[in-house]
């Protein structure tokens, strides 16, 4: 692919400083990251490591204090339909039913009714919510809400799907099922996914790259390529070996803190 020459998302020495009254918080310091089209990248770290900040910078919700965030080599100026966000608490529009939530993006782009309907039908099917097309968000379970949130982003032709601990609030069974479904969608659609989580296991199960981040100040500790064959078996020795290595990296900052 010619596209693979330019990374789809590139983070160049980005740092982010928040001013909270008289406190200065270094949420992210000197981060470098380059993501190629089609990759599934997990950002992992304890709270305060800047993983959500990095994701929000890629989304365009935050601007870097220093450095640049680029998409296809061009600076990210603000939120954009090409980078869709899936929030942990869903952020569905409660006044719209499943159908209208998924159709929100296409309708906002000014597509006609028939086109929007075709797109919505396709993505309702993709996430298996056909029976709930006319239900309102408050009538859905957490797993179903998150499916709507994913479909809403895909329906808008997002090239990069940014996911901020999307399955964090779900029960274990639903989480596993949604992880499988997400992988299937990713493999089928050749999307690029940037996925924030604090679960090492989730990261190893999903990603082909795991970026470990550590707090105080938030920074990228290491960038680990994973080439475990799929479907991955969370109980296999290989899986556990990787888990041990990543867990050690994840906790590497503990020693430094006490020093």
């Amino acid at each position: 692919m010619a596209e693979s020459a330019t990374p789809i998302v590139e983070i160049k020495s980005v740092s982010k400083v928040f001013q909270l009254q008289d406190q200065t918080i270094h949420a992210l310091s000197d981060a470098h990251l380059s993501i190629n089209k089609g990759e599934f990248v997990c950002l992992i770290g304890a709270s305060g490591c800047g993983k959500s900040t990095l994701l929000r910078i890629i989304a365009g919700f935050e601007q870097p204090s220093t450095g640049e965030a680029l998409m296809w080599g061009r600076p990210i100026a603000g939120p954009d339909p090409t980078r869709g966000m899936v929030f942990q608490d869903y952020a569905l529009f409660p006044w719209l039913n499943v159908r209208a939530n998924i159709g929100f993006g296409p309708a906002a782009r000014g597509l006609g009714g028939a086109e929007v309907k075709a797109i919505v039908d396709k993505f309702i099917d993709l996430v298996g919510l056909g029976k709930f097309a006319n239900a309102y968000p408050h009538q859905l379970s957490g797993g179903m809400k998150q499916r709507v949130a994913i479909a809403r982003v895909l329906a808008n032709d997002a090239e990069v799907v940014l996911m901020d601990e999307p399955f964090g609030a779900l029960d274990a069974m639903t989480r596993e099922r949604l992880q499988d479904e997400l992988l299937e969608i990713w493999q089928r659609t050749k999307l690029t996914v940037v996925f924030v989580t604090h679960s090492v296991e989730e990261a190893i199960f999903l990603a082909n790259r795991v970026v470990v981040m550590t707090p105080g100040p938030g920074r990228i500790e290491s960038d680990n390529a994973l080439d475990l064959p799929r479907p991955r078996d969370v109980a296999s020795p290989e899986f556990n070996a990787i888990r041990r290595v990543l867990a050690a990296k994840l906790h590497s900052h503990h020693g430094k803190k006490s020093a």
């Binding site: 939120p79 529009f93 993709l126 309102y136 982003v153």
Partner: protein, 285 residues
């Protein structure tokens, strides 16, 4: 793929054919029966109090009922108030709904502005907060000077009474929109002014609706004050006349009609709200 969760089925099959047993009859009538207990006890107490002549100034329930029939259809006393209920009710309703509509006309845009524009909030909010505690009764003399004796004054006072609940709830609704929804909208390609129509307004509708409901309730609440301005027609006018003429049964009739009319008008609003706000989990009044 396409695995469907067996979660809660959206509100169907809820009131599916209940068995017609004695138990279900009771559970169906329970709200009505419970609701009637307090009024009936009050009525009984009233009857006893007048029978034992604890007071000579309050008419018996029978006298009030007689007066109500005469007020509604005439044929008993044949005086100035016989069979005039409908015309007084219509006069009051026109002021209540007119004043309410006028209040909504001002309060909604001002509320949206205060909620969305910091400069509008700084400009108007302190002033309105100072004006708000002043009761409608206190405005009565000034209103009569400004708008004269009669219907215009009544309109103005009702409007004033309904204004603040609509305004405050609109401001609250607009300001309480979940910030995540703005982010969601902007990453879906809806930004700038479009967000006002696609996010702010729909998100604020439940609050605005609560404001309208409270406003309409208050419009009925202040109608008597509004009709103290010397209007010839209206339930408030009837109550004021009844007081002047020492016809307490007429006063009580006026009170009952206001209560019932306000109640029915509120039920209509609530029913409308339940239809329009099906999406809102905490909006089934």
């Amino acid at each position: 793929m396409a695995i469907v969760e067996t979660g809660p089925v959206p509100a169907a099959a809820e009131e599916a054919a209940a068995p017609k047993s004695a138990r279900s009859t009771w559970s169906r009538r329970k709200p009505t029966i419970l609701a009637l207990i307090v009024p009936l006890l009050l009525l009984a107490f009233w009857q006893v109090a007048t029978m034992l002549q604890w007071t000579r100034l309050i008419p018996t329930p029978y006298a009030v009922a007689e007066c109500m029939v005469d007020f509604a259809v005439g044929g008993i006393f044949d005086d100035a108030y016989s069979a005039t209920l409908v015309s007084h009710l219509l006069a009051s309703m026109s002021r209540v709904y007119g004043g309410f509509a006028l209040a909504a006309l001002f309060a909604l845009p001002i509320g949206l502005m205060i909620g969305r524009m910091p400069w509008a909030r700084m400009l108007l909010d302190p002033f309105l907060q100072v004006m708000r505690p002043i009761p409608v009764t206190a405005w009565l003399p000034l209103s009569m000077i400004l708008f004269g004796l009669g219907a215009k004054s009544a309109f103005a006072l009702v409007c004033l009474g309904a204004f603040y609940p609509i305004l405050l709830n609109t401001v609250f609704g607009v300001r309480a929109v979940d910030p995540k929804l703005f982010e969601a909208a902007s990453m879906l390609g809806c930004s700038g002014n479009a967000q006002f129509y696609k996010v702010v307004l729909p998100a604020a509708v439940p609050s605005i609706f609560t404001g309208l409901r409270l406003g309409l309730g208050l419009a009925w609440f202040v109608i008597v004050v509004g009709e103290m301005t010397g209007v010839p027609q209206g339930l408030g006018a009837v109550i004021m006349d009844g007081r002047t003429l020492s016809r307490t049964e007429l006063v009580i009739c006026g009170m009952i009609v206001i209560g019932l009319a306000g109640y029915l008008s509120d039920r209509v609003v609530v029913a409308t709200g339940n239809r329009l706000l099906r999406w809102s989990p905490n909006h089934h009044g």
